[in-house]
Structures are given as C-alpha cells and as structure tokens.
Amino acid sequence: MADQSAVSAGKARVGSQNIIQIADLKKIYQLGKTSVEALRGVNFSVAEGEFTVVLGPSGSGKTTLLNIIGCLDRATSGQYLLDGEDVSNRDFNDLAEVRNFKIGFIFQNFNLIPVLNVIENIEFPCLVRDKREERAKLRERVRAVCAEVGLERFMTHKPDELSGGQRQRVAIARALITEPRLVLADEPTANLDSKTSDQILELMQRLNREHSTTFLFATHDPRVMELARRTVRIKDGLVVPD
C-alpha cells in the first residue's frame, strides 16, 4: 500500500508493517435521545508480530475498540486500516471473508459451538470457506494445533465435557487454525481462575513468539500488564499516553 504512510503519519513504527492503523477513531452509541461516546478519537497502531495489551477500566471502551478492529462493528468516524486496507465500506459477506482469513477471535466466554466436538469446533472456520482444503490435510493441521495447545487427549470431547481452561484452549486453537494475521482476545482470562489464566496467557505468548502472530489482548486486570511487551492504556474512550 503506497499511501499507507500518509494515513498513519507519525504513528507508524519504523521497520515493520503495521497490521492495525487507527486514526481519530470515534464510536457513538445512540440510545434513544442520549448518546454515549464510547471512543472519542483513538489513535494507535500495532505492528506485525506484536503482543499488545489494551488495558483499561471497565467501560473504558476496550470491547468497542476490539469489535471495530475485528470488523464486527463500524466506527462512527475516523480511520481504520487493517493490514493496510480500509475495510469500512465492505458489505457483510466481504467482512466475513476478511474475518475468516485475517482475524482470529478469542472470547471471554469461549463461545464454542456446543454441538460440535473439539476437532469440529477447531476446523469450523476452515469449513465455511468457499474453497475448502483437503479433508485429510485439514485434520492433520487440527491435530498439530491441538498438540500445540495441549488438547490431544480431548479431541472428540464436546465443549460441555471440558473445563474452562480447556475450552479456552479450544478457542485459541480455533483462532489459530486459519493462520490469521491478527488474533483479538477480549478478556480471555476473565472467566478463569488465576492459575489457569496464567497458563492461557503463557500459551498465547508462546504462540505469539513461535508463529509471530500478532495478538491484541484487552483486559482490565493490571496483573497481565507485566507479561506484555507493549501496553496501550485506554480510559474514557481515549488512549492515555505512556
């Protein structure tokens, strides 16, 4: 993208391609007559391979920001480039494709599909594609990812037969199976005990190192901060300078 530096003037980090570039991003929720300004002009960018923690108190706008970055929601104004591309005018199915190929999601409440077992949950994003890869090859990759996140022994279990930590591992495996450019995790440890949280955090960091997948991790837990190489603080819909 030739004109990308113009958009991200001043914020681009030297020497690496930016996966996320956000400039003056605003999001206003209209609630009847009153409106809530959840994001009030956010500027920041994330470079490829980074593990970034978005830290902020409850209600500060983390989820709002991640939803826009994840192409699940649109900003009211401002600019957002994903992997150098402006996706703000794409229709639903185009955005679905962008999400499917470029973004992996890890949710606070896991959001596994209850009728599918571990393998099926993990391979699901690859199966809803138009051009599906060979079944055997896909199964091989699923097995490899399962091994990576430590789920080998639970491959045929249904989600309700797994612990919270195991479920989040399935979600992580599902996010990684598409080899996305970016993994978004909105408070992925909030529903886990501290020991399991640490394991999940550790796992994500290891995957970040080994695959150089970009992670964006939202939390209100300052404890997580210590683990992060980079922290973006957010408060009342604005990024707080370091």
Binding site: F92, N93, F101, F107, I113, E120, L127
Partner: protein, 428 residues
C-alpha cells in the same frame, strides 16, 4: 455444506422436548391426513365403482336426442343392434366390452288370486306398480356392470336373454307380494305377475313373467328399477333386434374422453356418446366436493403444522443468538446461517412426515384388511370400505411437508442471518 448439515442435524437433539413437540405435531398431523385420505379414497372409489360398474357403465351410446327425450317416448329412438355396429364400437381403443340394452317402462301387476285351495294368497285386490326397467342380455351385461349383480339380495338373475323371468327392486317386490322368490318360482304360470308395457305405437302389450330375484341398491337409485331379459322384452314389444343403448366398459376410466371423441368420429351424427360423468353429473360433483373438502382439511392441517415449525424455529434462533454471533465472527456468510436453520426446519418436516406417513400407512393397511362397513344414505345394502393410498399422495404429502417446513423456516432463518455480529455476540 457438510458441517452445516451435521450441525443442523445435531441441533435437533439440543432441545429435545421442543424438537419432539414440533416433530410430534408433524407426525400426528400427517398420520391423521393419511388416514383421512385413505378413507376418502375408499369412499370415492366405492362411489365411482358403484356408478361405473353398477349403474351407468363408463360410457353409453344412444341415438341422438335420446337423453333429452328419455322421459317422453324412448322407444322412438331405438336402433338396430347389429354385429357390424358392435364390431365398430369394440374396435375403438380402450373399449373393453359392451352391453346392449332396451330401456322401457311399464307396470307389473300381481296375478288375480285364483281359487287354489287353502294356501292361496288371499289378496283382496290386484296390486300394480310402475317400473322403469332395463332389458339386458345377462351374459354381456354382467361383464359391463359386474357390481350391479352383486346387489342381488334374494334369488338369482335370469341366465339367458329370452328367459321368462325378471328381477325387481326390493322396494317393489314387497308391496307387490313377490318378495319371496322361492315361492315365486314354485308357483304355476297362472299366478305369475303380469308385465304390461306400451309399445312404440302406444298399445299395451303384456305377458306373465316370473320374479326370480330381488335387487337392493348401494347407491341412491330409482326404486322402480327392474331388470328383464332383452329378447323376451323385444318380443313383447315387437321390437326384435332393437335396443335403446349400448353400455360400455373401458380398460381405463380415465380414458373416457379420448374414447368418447373416437366413438363420435366413428359413429357419426346419428348417435350420441355420453361419459358416465355426463349421465350422472351429480356423482362427479359429489366426488369433486369430497376432494375439495379434503383439500381444505389438508390446508388447515398443513397450516397448523407449519405454524408449529415456525414457532419452534424462532425459539431455536432466539436461543442461539450468541452462537450465531460467534459463527459470524468466525467468518460464516449470511447464506450459510440461512441454510443452517432452513435445513433444521426441513429435517423436522421430512423426519416428521416420514414417521407420520409411515404410521398412517400402517393404520390404513390394517383398516383396509378389516374393512369399514358403512350404510350409504338412500341405500339398502351395506358397503364395505377398503381404505387405500396412492403413491402420488404419499409423495406429495412428503414433499409438501418437507419443502413447506424448509420454506417457512426461511422466516426465522432470515431473521438469524440479518443479525448484527456485535449485537448477537453480546446477547446473553
């Protein structure tokens, strides 16, 4: 989309009670429909059979103008029953057999009681009754109207066309004192009733005749009905070789229209060819009414079934909002969400239809074996109904239900596919 099919199928067992309820509605509805259809089919068949195999035949050939003048002087429009004419008619495709008939009216009078000892029937006055009779050749007529001959309630039908005997309706036989056919047959000729009939010229001709059989009716018929031997009647009326009509049976009643136009071509303008449904239009109307009522019942049943499915599918969608949001986040397209719920509805519809039709078939088969006795209004005979089903009904019922279920599921499915990912994901 194999994962979608898999998911739709597994989702059925997710809320078992709801699925079973929706499924139950389809099963019960289709089972009931199948039973009703089986019964209606048998009523239809019985009515149609009694008409085309027992009353009018499938087709009749008269001299032109006969049917309009039948009440005034039918004998004027008699015609010669020749071998060539018969061959001509039988050469037409789908015509299986014909029976020549001479329709006439007259009266039947009980004989004056003669003094014949103590056992003489002491009728104080002679009894007379009017009859509307068909003179037939029994051998040919039995082939064309086999069912008519099963309605005999006593005695037997004359064996030959020149027998000196006849068959009358039960309602005539009793009052006339000829209800006991065994007694009739043992009586000397002097005690036989007399058949009086005006011939072509209007002069009365008469002859003593034996009543050897009594006929009942399974459908509303003229109570003055009587059957007489063709050549005997031709002799009495001095109309040798003359008949008023041919009654035809075809190898397929559905071909009646084709056969009719072929016959019209062959026979020319001197003859008129009438289908059974032109001779007794009210029977055809009755059958159409039966079909119409069944169609209404079917529509109501299907409507209720479809409402049940829509309701169940809407609850399914509402229960899975977050899952829909998740799938959207994972990059599923709108069309796939649509397909997911449509498939689920179609599964319920086709599975329910399959089971419901299966049970229905079983019940109809049993009912058919046992038979359902009914008394048709205006009939003196019991009818045995044997319910049956056609493949085309079963196929249509199955397709209509499964495709209907898929179609109505489009509504909740469409609502699901139109959800906004963020809103769906934040649902509790």
């Amino acid at each position: 989309m194999s994962p979608l099919v898999l998911m739709s199928f597994r989702n059925l067992s997710r809320n078992r009670r709801r699925t079973l309820l929706a499924l139950g509605a389809v099963v019960v509805g289709l089972c009931a429909l199948t039973m009703i259809r089986g019964f209606v089919n048998s009523v239809r068949q019985a009515q149609l059979g009694a008409t085309v195999y027992g009353t009018t035949g499938m087709m009749q050939i008269h001299r032109t103008g006969y049917l309009k003048n039948v009440l005034s002087n039918p004998l004027d429009l008699a015609f010669a029953d020749t071998a060539e004419l018969r061959e001509k008619i039988l050469s037409v495709k789908h015509v299986k057999a014909l029976s020549p008939r001479l329709q006439f009216s007259g009266s039947l009078s009980a004989a004056e009681p003669v003094v014949a000892g103590a056992e003489a029937q002491t009728n104080s006055e002679p009894k007379t009754t009017f009859i509307a009779a068909n003179a037939v050749d029994p051998e040919l007529d039995r082939i064309v109207l086999p069912q008519f001959y099963t309605w005999l309630t006593a005695g037997k039908v004359f064996d030959t066309a020149d027998a000196p005997s006849m068959v009358v309706h039960g309602d005539i036989a009793g009052p006339l004192g000829v209800g006991n056919v065994e007694l009739n047959m043992s009586q000397p000729k002097e005690l036989w009733p007399v058949l009086l009939t005006p011939d072509k010229d209007g002069s009365l001709a008469g002859e003593a005749i034996q009543v050897t059989g009594v006929i009942g009716s399974a459908v509303p018929t003229d109570k003055r009905l009587a059957l007489a031997p063709l050549r005997t009647v031709q002799r009495i009326l001095k109309m040798d070789g003359q008949i008023t009509e041919y009654v035809l049976t075809l190898d397929d009643v559905a071909r009646a229209s084709d056969v009719q136009s072929d016959l019209v071509k062959i026979l020319g303008p001197d003859f008129e060819v009438s289908r059974w449904d032109e001779i007794v239009p009210f029977i055809q109307e009755l059958l159409s009414n039966i079909d119409f009522i069944f169609d209404i019942i079917t529509s109501v049943f299907l409507l209720v079934i479809m409402l049940g499915i829509v309701n169940s599918m809407f609850m399914n969608v509402l229960e899975r909002v977050r899952e829909i949001g998740t799938m959207m986040a994972l990059g599923i397209r709108r069309g796939y969400i649509l397909a997911l719920f449509v498939l689920e509805g179609a599964f319920i519809g086709s599975l329910g239809a399959f089971i419901g039709l299966g049970i229905g078939i079983g019940i109809v088969a049993i009912a058919s074996k046992i038979g359902i006795p009914i008394n048709a209004p205006g009939s003196t005979l019991k009818f045995m109904l044997h319910p049956f089903l056609t493949v085309s009904f079963l196929l249509r019922a199955f397709l209509l239900t499964s495709m209907g279920a898929a179609l109505v599921s489009l509504w909740p499915a469409w609502r699901a596919s139109r959800m906004k990912p963020v809103e769906a994901l934040s649902a509790v």
